[in-house]
Amino acid sequence: MIPFLTNLVNGISLGSVYAIIALGYSMVYGVAKMLNFAHGDVIMVAAYVSFTATQYWGVPPLVSVLMSMVVCTLLGITIEGLAYKPLRQAGSLAVLITAIGVSYLLQNLALLIWGANPKVFTSVVDFGGIRLFGGELVISDEIIVTIISGIAVMLLLTWFTGKTKMGRAMRAVSEDKGAAQLMGINVNFTISLTFAIGSFLAAIAGVLLCSSYNTLMPTTGSMPGIKAFTAAVFGGIGSIPGAMLGGLLLGLIEVFGGSYVSTELADALVFAVLIIILLLKPAGLLGKNVQEKV
């Protein structure tokens, strides 16, 4: 029972991180209709900013988290403005390749600044965690904070997109850019805002992820980035509840697969499930099947 609960908690925690990253992927895809493959690397930048602030400048951990949020939000807006905005009218392939280029640029800049050696990332939270069932089930403080952050992000984002002016504008742009524009919605601003929010979320995810796993390298963001992209597709890309569900399921499958099947096969299992889901539901779990009009 206890190993099962431990796995469950770990899975939800990892899934929350995936969900937070996947939300960024999915929102950007929904609004700008592009796959921002540099999204994973923003996670890495977030972790490095927090690391540098705490280790070199002696900034308190929580303040360093705020710093990485600000830096990443600005980074997201900058990337969008410099790399993607000039390609607004270009084909999707050009944008995709640019995104991969931005991804490599960020990784190599990190390599240049912080070097190739893995850094030891000290957790930004430290209150000892909790013990349940007479100390048999240990839930670490990182896991608690991760799950709480995940829930908070999901609630806030659902509310933001559903109940605020800018959220509605984002949904309108994601459905029909042209019509939104004709109704007076500033599409460029809306897209920048989406990138800002996505990168802000990536910053949260980056700090949480590195707090749990403690190592930090220039390539730290790529694997979680790809997993989160998978999660977004899994849940139905463009859909916010889909990204949440996809992220959580992915985390659970990875943890349970790793512990009950084989650690080596955990990743393979994740992608196998993705393939099966996509065969059965091509638009993802919560994606809408768009029928081609004849």
Partner: protein, 282 residues
Amino acid sequence: MKLNSDVKMVPVPSHSIIPERDSGKPVVLEANHLGIQFGGLKAVDDFNLTIGRTEIAGLIGPNGAGKTTVFNLLTKVYQPTTGTVLLDGKDTAGMSVVDANRMGIARTFQNIRLFDKMTVEDNIRIGLHNQVRYGMLPGILRLPSYWQGEKKQHQRAMELLHIFNMEDLADVRAGSLPYGAQRRLEILRALATNPKLLLLDEPAAGMNPTETEELMRTIARIRDEFQIAILLIEHDMSLVMGVCEGICVLNFGRVIAKGTAEQIQNDPVVIEAYLGKQQEEA
């Protein structure tokens, strides 16, 4: 303008058909020598139109005459290759679609383009986006101005829905509305942007005669209530002739006639454009 000057029944230029009540007031729209070229094709050429403050004007013509292109030029979806569009006396050259909307031009679409996944009320709230303002930060922090803004938007949306008695549909997904209701919602969404000039692209398409008649009355009512000008593209002649004060006929991208319903109906050039030239009897 040298169009059809020999056909005396067509008043040229068009401001002569501006309704009495609008004469003396500045016009809402003035298109001068408007033209656009796609490659070698002149989709619209030397298009001139003046619309009075509260005029209901019609833009008709056979399929492919360039009517929707004119709408796209007026709303700045296309930038004209020649000519100017003055909206409320201001030149719109170089303006974006959003600028033109903020200056008071709004439209509906030939093939409905609602935000299908959003609710009826949210569709209208998109139209209200620039009308009810509150900042990002009050929005995120839920400051009083957020609640006030949201409340104002809700009230305004309900007022607009009341025009078509659609209040009880506020929470329905727009995509699941019946066809006629979608057309009506599109008009409301455009009205929500607080336009001075409302462009309706085939508002009666797919409606039955009863619905069309009702729509006709509503168009007149909207004009009276909001004191705005309306320019509509329509193939249903009963609607055009019934509600439009000035009518402009387009064929092959050029204006071939302008006038009142009666004048247009008797214009040989218009009849020829629609039905072909009458064979001379031997």
